[in-house]
Symmetry: C2
Subunit: 352 residues, 2 copies
């Protein structure tokens, strides 16, 4: 289940080299309307030059069954077979949906991910989770399907807005907290005005992905050790579902930043996580991500979303918590009252 990953800012060359080593018939690119315009022409891959591009609407709100059906239909019309190969070029929405489409078309064709957003590079494009949102719930349906290869670069990060960089950075912060106090502290000194499309930053991405891979390889199908990567995500997913219900979706990465604050309070409460680190995190998040606005009238909705979370067993609320950075306790069971307390503290720390 180890997944091939190449870190290289000469993406076209890397793609050509990877494709030369994989038996396949035709190629099909899946991109969203932004990456089809801004990134695909810049790839510089010889192999992809003649490949048809399936262009889908951008945005998480389009990671749905209609878009999936549209991709399946176009794969059929393009004559794709299970020996064809999909190349997903885009953010997490494209790699999630494109990966799911490929993994289910004719019971499964291969796919290669070329993440173009920071969030996709450090998270969505590696580890084999694919899927779509359904019935108002994030990633409600999908499969585990490893990409044949992922080509990670920093060279397209100049196409991203600062909020998009920040969104990916939140997952890097999560990985850092799972890894060590040193990396956590290093990441708190971010300069979001600097350039990110550098080889130096690509090294930092590689370090972050290696942390994720460490957990994925122990537990590809997410039954145990991989739950560590859920840090911050029980609250994050609930925030996202609430935002979707309000008709104002929020960015997953921002939700993770806010979720980390709420759940790090639970780490402090239940596993004595150092309060100084909690405050440092909260200060960093508030100053760079501002806050997701909730009132206590939202608590029941949020708790309901958490008990519907894919990680939930028997309708319990489960979180991955830390005693210190680098020391994780998977699947802590959280009572609704503790969770409400964490949401209270989140509102205090976020000045809501």
């Amino acid at each position: 289940m180890t997944q091939g990953i190449t870190y290289n800012n000469r993406v076209g060359e890397a793609l050509d080299s990877v494709l030369a080593g994989i038996d396949h018939t035709r190629l099909v690119v899946i991109a969203d309307e932004n990456t089809a315009q801004l990134v695909v022409p810049r790839l510089g891959s010889t192999a992809l030059a003649q490949a048809p591009v399936i262009t889908i609407a951008a945005g998480e709100e389009n990671k749905n069954l209609d878009t999936l059906a549209q991709v399946w239909r176009q794969l059929g019309e393009l004559g794709a077979t299970r020996n064809s190969m999909v190349v997903n070029v885009g953010g997490g929405m494209v790699t999630d949906l494109g990966g799911f489409a490929a993994a289910t078309f004719k019971r499964g064709m291969g796919f290669i991910n070329c993440p173009t957003s920071l969030l996709a590079a450090v998270d969505a494009s590696v580890g084999g989770k694919t899927g779509i949102d359904f019935n108002g719930l994030k990633n409600e349906v999908g499969v585990f399907a490893m990409p044949r290869h992922t080509i990670i670069s920093s060279c397209f990060l100049d196409t991203l807005s600062t909020p998009e960089i920040k969104a990916g950075y939140a997952e890097m912060l999560k990985h850092a907290m799972l890894h060590s106090h040193e990396l956590f502290t290093q990441l708190l000194h971010a300069d979001f005005d600097a350039a990110f499309n550098t080889l130096e930053f690509l090294k930092l991405i590689e370090q972050s992905v290696a942390i994720k891979q460490h957990f994925v390889e122990q537990d590809p199908h997410d039954n145990g050790a991989r739950h560590a990567l859920n840090l911050g995500h029980t609250v994050a997913h609930a925030f996202e579902s609430l935002a979707l219900k309000r008709g104002k979706p929020i960015h997953h990465g921002y939700a993770v930043a806010w979720g980390l604050v709420a759940e790090t309070y639970l780490s402090h409460k239940l596993f004595s996580f150092p309060s100084a680190d909690l405050y440092a995190l909260a200060t960093f998040v508030l100053s760079n991500y501002r806050a997701f606005h909730i009132t206590c009238d939202d608590y029941d909705d949020l708790i309901a979303f958490m008990t519907h979370d894919k990680k939930s067993r028997n309708g319990e609320i489960n979180c991955a918590l830390l005693s210190i950075c680098g020391q994780v306790h998977c699947d802590a069971t959280i009572s609704p009252n503790h969770m409400k307390e964490a949401l209270d503290i989140y509102r205090d720390l976020m000045h809501i």
Copy 2:
């Protein structure tokens, strides 16, 4: 990848025993409107007594995206988690669609198959192929997902019409041809007026499934040895797609019987399969299954469907062919002219 199979006409007891050995939280039954009424109440399982039943519309024409979305939605509303367990009770339409729904809900929950039709017992419910029809093509999307267990019985076969028995019997005939001349000859002596819900017939089913399992275990994801099971199916799938296009779907099992005739001619032509066996097969099929009506005006459509077949590489037509019963040649490449000749001979043999 070896799949647990229990052969037992005391289905309720067998189910309870299997469920006792599988870690799961809640149970959800998926059945179609016929099996929900005729079979589920007869199962006699203690474990299932309180389980909610998701009832879907019967018939291949409902093995579609709308029904799949409906099942996903109901699984969500029932609070199913990835630790819940689906029990599919029905024919191949239910085990295909229910298996796909379970394998993709929250990125995959487990499922158990209780096939109630002969076709599902000897084919659809074992081997891990799940999916739905899409865009006018059979099983256009789906995944490979092994059921946690399959409980095979003959006791519900008394709920089937003779045509439904014959449909399943065609797959048994295919398995027999892959196995030995002796079993092939034995199966040509069918008495469709006899009772099929017997322990004796369950033994024959077990023998048939063992032949399928022999190929599945060598090649679960259908990249090589398993293609043997495609015998008769390249033509069968094209007939089914044509029938769907005409708005008059035909039964998969019947299509297999007719496809076996056309492809056995190709076996004779290209691998010297004995003509006496070809005529014996054609006589048996014509007298028990009558014929699917085609004219030479349909050939281009049929060829187009075959080149879109999931097994097709590079738009070629591929068939599994036999030199004698028990000796298979996977992935023979068939020219459109040879295929048209086979369709001509099929029409001759079927008195069209």
